[in-house]
C-alpha cells in the first residue's frame, strides 16, 4: 500500500440541539461522529457502510469542508484539510469532489450541461474558450455522453444520464479523491451496473481514490478494496472487503451481511446468521453492542477499543474490565 492520500484522525462531530431554554438551558449535544480514524490510499476505494444516521454522511461532509469537525484532524497529502490552516474552497475543490445520491436534485435545473461544466473551469482560471470546450468534450466522452448533450438541460435526461453528468461535474477539476454518496441507490436497478462499471473504469483511467458511502452491501462488495463498518458514530469493524464479507467478526457486521438478499440461499436453505465461529483472537472479549439496541445519541458512547484480529482487520470490543456480556 502506498502512502495515505487522505488521513482522518479521531474525527468527532457534535451538533448542538436546542432544548428550548432561552439562555441555552437544556442545550444537548448530538454525537454524530465519535472518533473516526482511517486513511485512504491513492487509487483505492474505501467504503463506509452503516445504517441511516450512523454518521457516515457527516464524515463525508467534514472531508468536503461542508461540515466543520468538532475535534480531530483531516489531512490531505499531510496538509490539514480542516480546522486552522485549512485551505479555502478553491484549493480544496481540486483535491476532493463529490458525486451526489439524487441525480434529480444535484443538477441546477436552470443551467445547461455546458454551463454546469464550464463555470467551475472558468472559476479555476481556465479562460480560453477552446480549452474549455476541449475539456468538456473530453469529460463528456469519459462519462459516455457526447458533445450534443452539452447544450441540453437536466430535465431532458434520464436518471442514469443525469448521474453521468454529476460524475462529469465532479471530475472536471481533476480531483484526486471523489466522495461517492450512495452513487447508485437512486437509480433503476438496470442502470446501476452501468454506473458502477463507469466509476470503476474512471478510477482506473484517472487514478482516482474513492470514498464511498453506502448501505447497499452488494455495491460495496463489488467496488471496494477496503470497508469501514460504522455504527452510532464509531467504526465497529474495518478490513479488506474479503475479510469483511467472508469473515465478519462484529455481530453488527454479521447482521448487515446476513441481510443481503440472496435468492440462492432463500430458496435452498433457511437463513443462517452468525454461523461462523468468532476468531480465536477475540476470546475473552465481548462487544459493547450487537447493533440491535438503540444507543443514546446525546451522550458519548460507552468506552471500547478497536483491536487487531488480523494484519488489516480491526474490530471494536468493550474494554476488558468494563466488559459486560450481551
Amino acid at each position: 500500500m502506498t502512502a495515505a492520500l487522505l488521513q482522518v484522525d479521531d474525527l468527532h462531530v457534535r451538533f448542538p440541539i436546542s432544548g428550548g431554554g432561552l439562555l441555552g438551558k437544556g442545550r444537548r449535544m448530538l454525537h454524530a461522529v465519535n472518533g473516526i480514524s482511517f486513511s485512504l490510499a491513492k487509487g483505492e476505494c474505501l467504503s463506509i457502510v452503516g445504517e441511516s444516521g450512523c454518521g457516515k454522511s457527516t464524515t463525508a461532509l467534514s472531508i468536503l469542508g461542508l461540515q466543520e469537525p468538532t475535534e480531530g484532524m483531516i489531512r490531505y497529502r499531510g496538509q490539514p484539510l480542516a480546522g486552522p490552516g485549512a485551505p479555502g474552497r478553491m484549493q480544496r475543490a481540486k483535491a476532493v469532489q463529490m458525486v451526489f445520491q439524487d441525480p434529480y436534485a444535484s443538477l441546477n435545473p436552470r443551467q445547461s450541461v455546458r454551463t454546469s461544466l464550464a463555470a467551475p473551469l472558468r472559476l479555476h482560471g481556465v479562460t480560453a474558450a477552446s480549452e474549455i470546450a476541449d475539456r468538456i468534450e473530453a469529460m463528456l466522452a469519459n462519462v459516455g455522453l457526447t458533445t450534443e448533450h452539452a447544450n441540453r438541460y437536466p430535465h431532458e435526461f434520464s436518471g442514469g444520464q443525469r448521474q453521468r453528468i454529476g460524475i462529469a461535474r465532479a471530475l472536471i477539476l481533476e480531483p484526486e479523491i471523489v466522495v461517492l454518496d450512495e452513487p447508485v441507490s437512486a437509480l433503476d436497478v438496470s442502470i446501476r451496473a452501468q454506473i458502477i462499471n463507469l466509476l470503476l473504469d474512471l478510477q482506473e483511467k484517472l487514478g482516482l481514490s474513492y470514498l464511498m458511502i453506502s448501505h447497499d452491501l452488494s455495491v460495496v462488495e463489488h467496488m471496494s478494496d477496503r470497508v469501514l463498518v460504522m455504527y452510532f458514530g464509531q467504526v465497529v469493524e474495518e478490513g479488506g472487503w474479503r475479510e469483511i464479507f467472508e469473515a465478519p467478526a462484529h455481530p453488527y457486521t454479521r447482521r448487515l451481511i446476513a441481510a443481503i438478499p440472496d435468492p440462492e440461499k432463500a430458496l435452498n436453505s433457511p437463513a443462517q446468521e452468525n454461523n461462523v465461529a468468532y476468531p480465536s483472537s477475540l476470546k475473552g472479549r465481548s462487544f459493547v453492542s450487537d447493533g440491535s439496541a438503540t444507543l443514546d445519541v446525546f451522550s458519548a458512547p460507552p468506552p471500547s477499543e478497536l483491536i487487531d484480529i488480523a494484519p488489516t482487520h480491526k474490530v471494536r470490543v468493550a474494554l476488558p474490565l468494563a466488559a459486560e456480556t450481551w
Binding site: L66, R92, Q97, M98, R169, L173
Partner: protein
C-alpha cells in the same frame, strides 16, 4: 406552461393600463392640465368628453390616461425596490443563518407589525410630497413578504445537491446565491412583485387622496378622487371613472399575479376533468 382564464384576464387588464399610460400623449384628446375651461365644467359624459369633465372643465378621460403613467411608474418602481431589498435580505439571511438571520427576521416582523400605509405616511411626512418620495416610501415599506419568501426558498434550495456541489467546486457564497439559488426562486418572487403592484397602486391612490402623493394640477387617480369628493352628488362621473380605473388595474395586477402563481406552482394547479 399553461395559463388559465384568470391569467389572461389579468394580462389583458394590465396590458390596457400599460397601453393607456404609454400612448397617453398620442391618444388623449386634450391636454390633462392646460385644457381647463370653466365654461365647460362638470359636463356629463358625451361624444366630446367621453368620461365627462371635472370642476375645472378638464376632460376626465384624458386625465385618466395620464394618471395611468403615475400608477404604472409607482407600481413598477416600488416593486423593483421592494424585490431588491426583500431578495437581498431574505436570501442572505436564509443562506448565512446565525445572527444575521435573527436580525433580518426581527426586522421583517417589525415591518409586518406596522401597517405599511401608516409607515409610508410617516416616510412621506419626512420626505415631503411628490413622486420621488412616493416611490421611496412605497419601495421601503412592502418588502417583508418578499423577504420571507426569499428566505424560505433559500432554506429549501440550500440543501439541494447542486448548491452543495457548487460549494465543493469552490464557488463563493455570493456566486452561489446569484447563480444557483436566485434563478431557481425567481418564480415566487415575480408573483409577489406582481401582486404587490396592485397594493402599490392602491397605496399611491390613498396617499394622493390624502394630499401627500402627486400634487395638483398633475393627474393621478387618487388625487382625482380627492377633487371629486365635493362633487360626488352633482357630477358622480368625476369620481366613478378614476375609481373604476383603480379597481380594474388593481384587479388586473392581482389576477395576473394569481395566474402566474398557479401556472408556476404545479401544486396549486387545479385539475380539470
Amino acid at each position: 406552461m399553461r395559463f388559465g382564464f384568470n391569467f389572461w384576464l389579468g394580462a389583458g387588464l394590465t396590458a390596457l393600463v400599460i397601453f393607456a399610460g404609454v400612448l397617453a400623449p398620442w391618444i388623449a384628446p386634450f391636454d390633462p392640465v392646460l385644457d381647463a375651461d370653466l365654461m365647460s365644467s362638470e359636463l356629463p359624459p358625451d361624444a366630446t368628453f367621453w368620461f365627462g369633465t371635472d370642476a375645472q372643465g378638464r376632460d376626465v378621460y384624458t386625465r385618466i390616461l395620464y394618471g395611468a403613467q403615475i400608477s404604472l411608474t409607482v407600481g413598477i418602481v416600488s416593486q423593483v425596490i421592494n424585490s431588491i431589498i426583500g431578495v437581498t435580505l431574505g436570501m442572505t439571511a436564509g443562506y448565512w443563518g446565525g445572527w444575521w438571520d435573527d436580525l433580518v427576521n426581527g426586522l421583517t416582523n417589525v415591518m409586518l407589525a406596522i401597517p405599511s400605509l401608516i409607515f409610508a405616511l410617516a416616510v412621506m411626512a419626512v420626505l415631503g410630497p411628490g413622486l420621488p418620495s412616493l416611490l421611496v416610501a412605497l419601495g421601503l415599506t412592502n418588502w417583508s413578504w418578499t423577504c420571507r419568501i426569499a428566505r424560505s426558498s433559500t432554506l429549501s434550495l440550500k440543501s439541494q445537491g447542486y448548491v452543495q456541489a457548487a460549494q465543493t467546486l469552490g464557488y463563493g457564497d455570493l456566486r452561489i446565491m446569484f447563480t444557483q439559488i436566485l434563478p431557481n426562486m425567481l418564480g415566487p418572487i415575480l408573483v409577489m412583485a406582481t401582486l404587490g403592484m396592485g397594493s402599490a397602486v392602491l397605496s399611491e391612490a390613498a396617499l394622493s387622496f390624502l394630499g401627500l402623493g402627486i400634487q395638483p394640477p398633475f393627474p393621478s387617480w387618487g388625487s382625482m378622487l380627492t377633487d371629486a369628493r365635493q362633487l360626488i352628488q352633482l357630477a358622480p362621473w368625476v369620481a366613478i371613472f378614476p375609481g373604476l380605473a383603480i379597481f380594474l388595474s388593481v384587479l388586473g395586477f392581482n389576477l395576473l399575479g394569481d395566474g402566474l402563481r398557479d401556472s408556476l406552482d404545479p401544486h396549486m394547479r387545479t385539475r380539470k376533468p
